[in-house]
Symmetry: C2
Subunit: 295 residues, 2 copies
């Protein structure tokens, strides 16, 4: 882990271009021809990000939806995707899911690359979007006194993964849908972009991602665990706050500003205290165990 | 192989957007804000595209240079890259090479993704460029009577790979440089873009790539093997014409047009015959064994 953190620090040091927010933020933002282009790339590795033996149609869905979720966090409208595909025996199912998710979001496949290799299979996707509002939201704008808000609930993907693992969703019923088929909140992101002081999508868990937003903004976030809507049994509340893969939008709004989409206020932005995150008044001193380190 | 070809056919059928040339061409071209954006993604898989145990600094170099070569084939100026990096024990060397190649081409790292996984390690990169001339060159514009031209020589990467494999370049001397450190011909691509009727970069071997250019243009190319400059012993001429990884530019020019960069005329565009490629008057009936199927 130490070596990995060093690597990412060195990588960030290389990324000195003004557009290079993609390593510390949800996506890179590149100004061209009077437009702001939003660019993101995410990779799913079999056994790390997807279950071994998971339906390839669900993998294709998740690959596209999670990248579009990064665009949603920027209030961007998708222009297209590039696929980095490792060929495998189940490619027909993968293509079924890919066709389905691209049609669902009305996003064109622009190109990409097919390679042989693996196992493990590796699935990569680059998503390209156009910002609908500038300045483009980032994780870095939260200010003292802002409200902290969350679309939807957290914990649904956790429950879905458990259902899938336990085989109770062997028939691919609704129970595992939240894990298998995450939703990119593109319309919500576009509606929020002109109003938010900071925004990100939740991929690695509410607490870990809130910690990151606070660090990027140079503030502390004071969250109330009881205020967070959860899609899980009450006794799993803390798990739900720490689990990833929900792809809700976490954002901050200036005092008095109400969100134009369904959302819940879950805390307040404070001046930077001795840690970036407080939960029910208790300091969160480090990120170990706080969420899913999504590598 | 049959399954793979089916997959790629189905993938291409999904890519119906006008910008979606990236699956059958070197890169996707997306018009935005009065500019044409050129987008490409290539993946290198350990054991498939790079030698096991190859210096990670060379892998990083090759990853960036091969993607920039796709931009060169479009006459595009690079705007930045997104890295899809699988973490490994040798990341410090990888970063050394990455910093070196980005500085060499003056291209910013904009963002990306780091994941754990492998072996085999998988290295992905998305390159984004801005077209300097429109219409943006493609593989599809070669016309009857055009000259077929090639920058530089082929076979240098083949000789370099053999030197590396045989250990004669254990000291990383000049012999293996062409394989380890391919060059993206960005300036040449920009100079050629306003003049060419078709252009591509050679990644999988002159003959296989010429076959593809002919197919995309709906013509036949008649090449003279003896006219092709080779960077290999004369008895290896046919190998040099079939080997990949040289990243020279293959292009066609209208009759009488001379190239503005150093290049050699190696053939003529003819009306589509019963095959897309003739070598010294002999028809090339299929692509099996013609070059490296670069997956």
């Amino acid at each position: 882990m130490k070596g990995e953190a060093d690597f990412i620090d060195r990588l960030r040091a290389l990324a000195t271009h003004p557009a290079a927010r993609g390593l510390a933020d949800d996506a890179a933002v590149l100004d061209i021809g009077g437009e702001s282009l939003v660019l993101t790339h995410d990779t799913l590795v079999e056994g790390v990000h997807v279950l071994p033996g998971q339906d390839p149609a669900d993998i294709a869905w998740k690959l596209v939806a999670t990248n579009l979720s990064d665009l949603a966090a920027k209030g961007a409208e998708p222009l297209g995707v590039l696929l980095a595909h490792m060929l495998g025996p189940d490619d027909a199912r993968f293509l079924d899911g890919l066709a389905e998710v691209l049609a669902h979001y009305d996003v064109p496949l622009l190109g990409g690359d097919t390679v042989s290799g693996g196992p493990p299979r590796v699935f990569g996707l680059t998503a390209i979007g156009r910002a609908t509002h500038r300045p483009v939201p980032s994780r870095a704008g939260a200010r003292n006194g802002d409200g902290v808000w969350l679309t939807g609930a957290v914990g649904a993907a956790m429950m879905g993964l458990e259902a899938l693992r336990e085989g109770t969703a062997a028939d691919r019923g609704a129970d595992s849908t939240a894990y298998r088929r995450p939703v990119a909140l593109l319309a919500e992101g576009r509606a929020l972009a002109p109003l938010v002081s900071a925004m990100m999508d939740l991929s690695d868990g509410l607490l870990l991602d809130a910690f990151r937003l606070a660090e990027a903004s140079g503030v502390s976030l004071a969250l109330e665990s009881g205020a967070v809507p959860i899609a899980a049994p009450e006794q799993r509340r803390l798990d739900a706050l720490s689990w990833g893969d929900d792809y809700q939008l976490l954002f901050t709004l200036p005092p008095g500003q109400e969100p134009p989409v369904a959302a819940t206020r879950i805390g307040t932005v404070e001046p930077l205290g001795f840690v970036p995150l407080f939960l029910d008044g208790e300091p969160i001193t480090n990120t170990a165990g706080l969420g899913y380190l999504h590598r």
